[in-house]
């Protein structure tokens, strides 16, 4: 059933509290991070004395002031909290200031003197490759004999694809409020997808113990992966200032600083060779993925891995090799972003399939359908996992019909034949996305469920709410498991003192993992309650006892299914538990079963299951300006048995539009010194209301229960982003129509108006040249 987001009323009234809204007293200090203006430089000397003299300034800190480890790398310890001798990107933190006002912070910053010796930075993937600036040794995956299969293929295709970086553009910028308690105690209100990691890093940084740090996350104003590790940074800086000054400290990055300091989606330079036959069947694929990791490791290894695991997208490739290179550059360390490398891998495959169709002069939809993973055969991925519960054909057949693809394709051709300056294009693209962390041990979750004597329930779990509706789903899961109305259940702010040692809320797996952990806790509680209530019923019916296992929890009551007259309201029963000495607090724990993944070999069963979706987009391109309009989009997406269609459709629509943004208007540019040029919404353009399709039709695939997740549901967050490729390839299709589909457009991602116009111009020039040479076009 559809229910609004559990905080919807608070959102629309402004009551919802974000970190910057927490009421604070006048003891609060404003924190500020001072960062490197150089992409690569030695720090020769610095002088903080004048800055420290500014009235109202309580601390100006450098790396020497860190009591514990100067480190905030999440996986590899290669990210100092504050730079010591060398800076390796513009935006790297060097000093921290705490003062009573922001103006005092700014004044102190102006008075800091630093002497740098600039060093040669690496700012492009080309230069990183030239200098062999690798973060890790190359990774490989191999199935079959791709070289041999390529040489035996009827057709060969070679190419290079660039996919751009992207800024998360969560509406709430990075922010943290750290409040010291007695002794070493610190309570940290963080905007973090990973409170346990935030806690651990702060403890190490301050040289204190984890049981002295509490991290709490009520909600984030958007995250999209951007607060999986990099929410830690602002939290660490705030905590350090609070630890030193023993005053509450809040750091909130302004939008420009947030964009300059934080990492982006990894840009990729990918090379591919594909072999296929006359029917368009893929025989072999060789892919080399070059990922720009930025200046440190962050999550780049897992992101590259997921890209490698998704170069197949929805298609069976008998012979396949994938090489993944992770390059170090002097840009802020790139990080998780919805899709986590998947989009970069899938972009390559969608380009290949689209190009096969163009070579063979066939409709790309036909080539796609032919190459889909089979149901009973041709169903093993290039890393050895069998594609089970394949929904591709179901989605394809239903979507081709509901979108009237064939009829509209004809109309598009007719339109293009009669228009010179406006061209239309269409594309259908699928997504198959593996659900699970590929770092297998992360697939775990914990919960703490408390029931109180008034029959209200407080659910704590390790997942964080960033707008995706996790708490709304958890609330319903808990209510359903207890058989009570949803109003009884409140989901608490995520808090490391309630549920410790958790994984990040990421990989689309928040509900899958935490929902199961909550269910496990509730099962424990129901067991205890049932035992006590069976005794209670038995006391009242001497000689005809109730058994715990026949008690059911439903309709806000507890009932003996064998004796329907034995019923007690949930509230009344809970009121009795204290006197009956039953604990109404239980923890739950869950780890995903059946996952095994041999990273070194690139082989195994890394995913619990796959999520599927499909999308048809139609666009119109103005060939004189390069502008485009999304005319219509039809999406059919597989979320299993939806836990909440309103929320799931919201995720699908929002994910698609985010994907369209990455594919079209969102362009990141740096200057030759490594300064981010597109550091504000003035120049970095995420989609606005008029960029959405004029006709936008989104449905969920029906009657497809998923046996592998809570209540037969399926993860949703990331996969729909990759449906944005249909808009991207529809634009390419429209550009291709300029040359009557005889010439293939040069294309990259994002397809900005500039990319589109230049592609159009090249085709026009080529047509002219061919006409001049007497070539029939």
């Amino acid at each position: 059933m559809s229910f609004s987001h559990e905080s919807a009323s608070k959102h629309v009234t402004g009551e919802a509290v974000y970190i910057d809204d927490i009421l604070v007293n006048d003891q609060l200090l404003v924190g500020r991070v001072v960062y490197s203006p150089h992409a690569h430089a030695r720090i020769l000397s610095f002088d903080l004395s004048e800055a420290q003299k500014v009235p109202g300034v309580h601390a100006v800190l450098c790396h020497k002031d860190i009591p514990g480890a100067n480190q905030m790398g999440p996986v590899v310890k290669d990210e100092p909290c504050l730079a010591a001798d060398e800076v390796i990107c513009v935006g790297q933190a060097i000093f921290l200031i705490a003062a009573e006002t922001e103006e005092q912070c700014l004044e102190a910053e102006r008075r800091i003197k630093v002497e740098y010796r600039p060093l040669d930075p690496i700012l492009t993937l080309e230069k990183a490759i030239e200098h062999q600036s690798l973060l890790i040794p190359p990774r490989t995956m191999l199935r079959g004999e791709p070289d041999k299969a390529l040489s035996e293929s009827e057709h060969l295709l070679k190419g290079e694809l660039r996919t751009g970086a992207a800024e998360h553009w969560y509406l709430e910028t990075q922010v943290c409020l750290a409040v010291p308690g007695e002794g070493n105690e610190l309570t940290v209100y963080a905007s973090s997808q990973h409170p346990s990691e935030t806690q651990a890093l702060i403890a190490e940084l301050l040289g204190i113990r984890r049981n002295e740090v509490v991290v709490e996350v009520r909600r984030m104003g958007g995250a999209f992966g951007g607060k999986e590790t990099q929410g830690n940074h602002t939290a660490c800086w705030s905590a350090l200032l609070a630890g030193v000054t023993r005053r509450p400290v809040k750091i909130r990055l302004c939008r420009d600083d947030d964009q300059k300091i934080t990492g982006k989606r990894h840009r990729f330079l990918s090379r591919y060779e594909a072999g296929f036959d006359n029917d368009g069947m893929l025989r072999a694929l060789k892919v080399e993925l070059n990922s720009d990791g930025g200046c440190a490791t962050d999550l780049s290894i897992a992101i590259l891995e997921r890209a490698m695991l998704h170069v197949d997208n929805a298609y069976y490739v008998p012979h396949c090799s994938v090489v993944g290179n992770l390059w170090r550059t002097n840009l802020p360390s790139n990080t998780a972003f919805r899709g986590f490398g998947g989009p970069q891998g899938i972009a390559v495959m969608e380009t290949v399939v689209d190009r096969i169709a163009r070579v063979l002069k066939k409709d790309p939809s036909e080539i796609r359908q032919k190459n889909f993973y089979g149901i009973d055969s041709r169903n093993v991925t290039h890393y050895g996992q069998t594609v089970e519960h394949n929904r591709l054909f179901l989605l394809y057949d239903q979507l081709m019909a509901s979108s009237e693809y064939a009829r509209r394709r004809k109309e598009t051709d007719t339109f293009n034949n009669s228009h010179e300056f406006l061209k239309r294009g269409m594309a259908i693209t699928p997504v198959k996305f593996g659900i699970s962390f590929t770092t297998s041990f992360l697939n775990q979750a914990g919960a703490l469920v408390n029931v109180y004597g008034d029959g209200t329930i407080l659910v704590n779990h390790g997942g964080t709410e960033m707008g995706q509706g996790l708490h709304t789903k958890i609330q319903r899961i808990a209510a359903a498991e207890f058989g009570v109305s949803v109003e009884r259940v409140k989901v608490n702010a995520t808090n490391t003192s309630k549920v410790p040692n958790t994984a990040a809320t990421a990989a689309s797996a928040g509900t899958d993992l935490n929902g199961m952990a909550v269910k496990n806790a509730i099962d424990t509680l129901k067991g205890r309650i049932a035992e006590s209530m069976a005794l209670y019923f038995s006391e009242q019916h001497k000689g005809d006892p109730s058994r715990p296992d026949t008690l059911v929890f439903e309709d806000d009551s507890i009932r003996d299914s064998k004796h329907p007259d034995r019923t007690i309201s949930f509230v009344e029963a809970m009121g009795m538990m204290f006197t009956r000495q039953v604990s109404l607090s239980a923890t739950g724990y869950y780890k995903t079963p059946g996952i095994q993944w041999d990273k070194a070999r690139g082989w195994g069963h890394p995913f619990n299951y796959y999520a599927f979706g499909m999308c048809v987009s139609e666009v119109e391109v103005d060939v004189l300006t390069g502008g485009h309009t999304l005319l219509r989009t039809d999406i059919l997406h597989d979320v299993g048995d939806s836990l909440n269609p309103l929320i799931d459709i919201g995720q699908v629509e929002g994910g698609y539009i985010q994907g369209v943004g990455w594919c079209t208007t969102e362009e990141i540019k740096w200057d030759e010194k490594g300064n981010l040029l597109t550091h504000s919404p003035d120049t970095y353009k995420i989609p606005s209301v008029q960029d959405i399709p004029k006709d936008f039709r989104v449905s969920l695939l029906k009657d497809v229960p998923n046996p592998n997740a809570i209540r037969k549901s399926k993860a949703v967050a990331e996969p729909p982003l990759m449906l944005g490729f249909s808009a991207w390839l529809a634009i390419k299709d429209a550009v291709s129509a300029v040359g009557n589909h005889d010439l293939e457009p040069d294309f990259s991602l994002p397809a900005t108006n500039e990319v589109i116009l230049l592609a159009v111009e090249r085709i026009k020039d080529e047509v002219k040249a061919r006409r001049g040479a007497g070539v029939e076009v």
Partner: protein, 484 residues
């Protein structure tokens, strides 16, 4: 002389005394003022530059003697003194006395219009302003009301749905019920010239042109603002302490619109929103450009005078105004003179105005029969984006179908809005046909040498600039693609 700022908030008249309260200054934004209060944390800062709309509030202004006009504004670009005499409405004010959600709030809940919720208060305020302004708005009107709000979660569809489902009660709500009371409170606020001095900063709000000009003479270093949507960035982004500000938005003489048979005169302090209806019939190409001008929130405060006075080479209105043959009326308080707009811009952010002159108005001549004007804006995103390049073109044909007059004004191609003179010269006397236009296109290269920047490369600008000529030809000849 008014020295304190008074406005209506939470149904109470609030007075801010800058001399007595060191926590505020004349350049404190309404956003920061509100967020400093314990009970107005609903509005958010998303960008502090008027691009995201998370800080949207609605201002209620007296309209005539007994009504109130509501308009959405970005509170991050609004200095506190600029809301003097107005009602400041925030998201916390929308529930009625019984705590019921406002129709626009309820519709947002029902449609699933919020996910992370951070942009939501801003959207709700834009929807509220639409609710008060339009009954049963069209999709275009809904889009127009929401272009100034960014959402990264939803993909906007449910928010558009919420607008369509809620804006249907003739704007009736508790604000309607309290209107008389509100009007009386607003009327009780003293009007007239304002001068705020804090020692560090001065903020003047004159009531007449004469006062404004004499202030400018007295304070040649003062910054003149009206909507301040551009100048505010110096405070919010560059943390500048602007010493002296002269706000001319209170000068009634600058706020008039005069419609004559031969021309339309728009006062320099008329907002873009206020000008849209008056220009609609006679100047459709300008109307089209104004619909792409920034966002609703910014159009509600930004002015013609500001867009011309800032003399940006990428301003939205100059090319099409030049195409219409617009003239700028400047005044030094006594003497007035008219400057053709294409002579008004003399360099990068430089105008032909003398130090003690102010823009009084812009005069737009109405077109002769047969004149054709079009405006074009090429930008990365359709809405709320600064033009990579833009064009304002006018064509007059003689009786034989030859080009008798041609104005080709381009923005974003040079240090100022500039005409493609060699193309214009080439085309005069020639037939307005595709072959000739295509011959003229390469001549654009003689007129411009644009730069490459974040918005586009020089190559892209040149290609698009040439192509706009062809586009103009297609549009003016009515040669639908199908006939080509």
């Amino acid at each position: 002389m008014i020295t304190k700022v008074t406005f209506l908030l939470d149904d109470v008249l609030e007075t801010v005394d800058f001399a007595a309260d060191p926590s505020v200054s004349p350049t404190t934004t309404v956003l920061n003022y509100l967020r400093g209060l314990p009970n107005h944390k609903g509005i958010k800062e998303g960008c502090a530059e008027g691009d995201c709309g998370a800080c949207t509030v609605v201002l209620g202004e007296l309209d005539g003697d007994s009504s109130i006009r509501y308009k959405s504004v970005d509170s991050c670009l609004l200095f506190l003194p600029m809301i003097h005499g107005k009602q400041l409405i925030t998201v916390e004010n929308l529930q009625n006395g019984e705590g019921m959600l406002h129709p626009v709030q309820q519709a947002m809940v029902d449609a699933g219009g919020s996910q992370c919720g951070f942009c939501t208060p801003g959207f709700v305020m834009s929807l509220f302003s639409l609710y008060k302004e339009k009954n049963v708005p069209s999709r275009a009107e809904i889009d127009g009301a929401l272009t100034g709000n960014l959402c990264r979660c939803t993909g906007y569809r449910p928010i558009v749905e919420a607008a369509a489902h809620s804006c249907m009660h003739d704007g009736l709500d508790q604000f309607t019920e309290r209107k008389i009371h509100t009007v009386n409170l607003l009327k009780s606020i003293p009007r007239g010239p304002m001068a705020i001095e804090t020692g560090k900063q001065s903020f003047f709000r004159p009531s007449t042109i004469r006062e404004a000009v004499s202030l400018k003479r007295l304070h040649p270093d003062a910054v003149v603002v009206c909507g301040a949507t551009d100048v505010a960035l110096r405070v919010t982004k560059r943390h500048e302490l602007i010493g002296k500000i002269i706000d001319i938005s209170g000068v009634e003489e600058l706020r008039t619109i005069t419609d004559r048979p031969e021309s339309l005169t728009i006062g320099s302090a008329v907002t873009i929103s206020e000008a849209i209806i008056p220009i609609e019939t006679s100047f459709p190409a300008l109307r089209e450009m104004l619909s792409l001008f920034a966002s609703k929130q910014i159009r509600n405060v930004a002015t013609f005078g500001g867009n011309l006075g800032t003399a940006s080479p990428i301003g939205d209105t100059p090319p099409v105004l030049i195409a219409y043959g617009a003239r700028v009326v400047v005044t030094d308080g006594g003497r007035e003179r008219e400057v053709p707009l294409d002579e008004f811009f003399v360099g990068y952010r430089k105008t032909a105005m003398a130090k003690d002159e102010l823009i009084k108005a812009i005069v737009i001549p109405k077109l002769r029969n047969g004149s054709l004007v079009r405006g074009y804006k090429v930008s990365k995103r359709k809405d709320l984006d600064i033009a990579t390049l833009s064009g304002g073109f006018r064509l007059d044909l003689d009786s034989r179908g030859k080009v008798a007059g041609l104005v080709l004004a381009y923005g974003g191609m040079a240090e100022k809005t500039k005409r493609a003179v060699s193309v214009e010269k080439f085309m005069i006397g020639k037939p307005w046909d595709r072959r000739t236009v295509e011959q003229a296109m390469p001549l654009v290269d003689n007129d411009f040498h644009p730069i490459s920047d974040t918005r586009g490369s020089a190559e892209f600008r040149m290609i698009a600039a040439r192509n706009l000529l062809l586009k103009f030809w297609v549009d003016t000849t009515g040669k639908d693609d199908a006939q080509l």
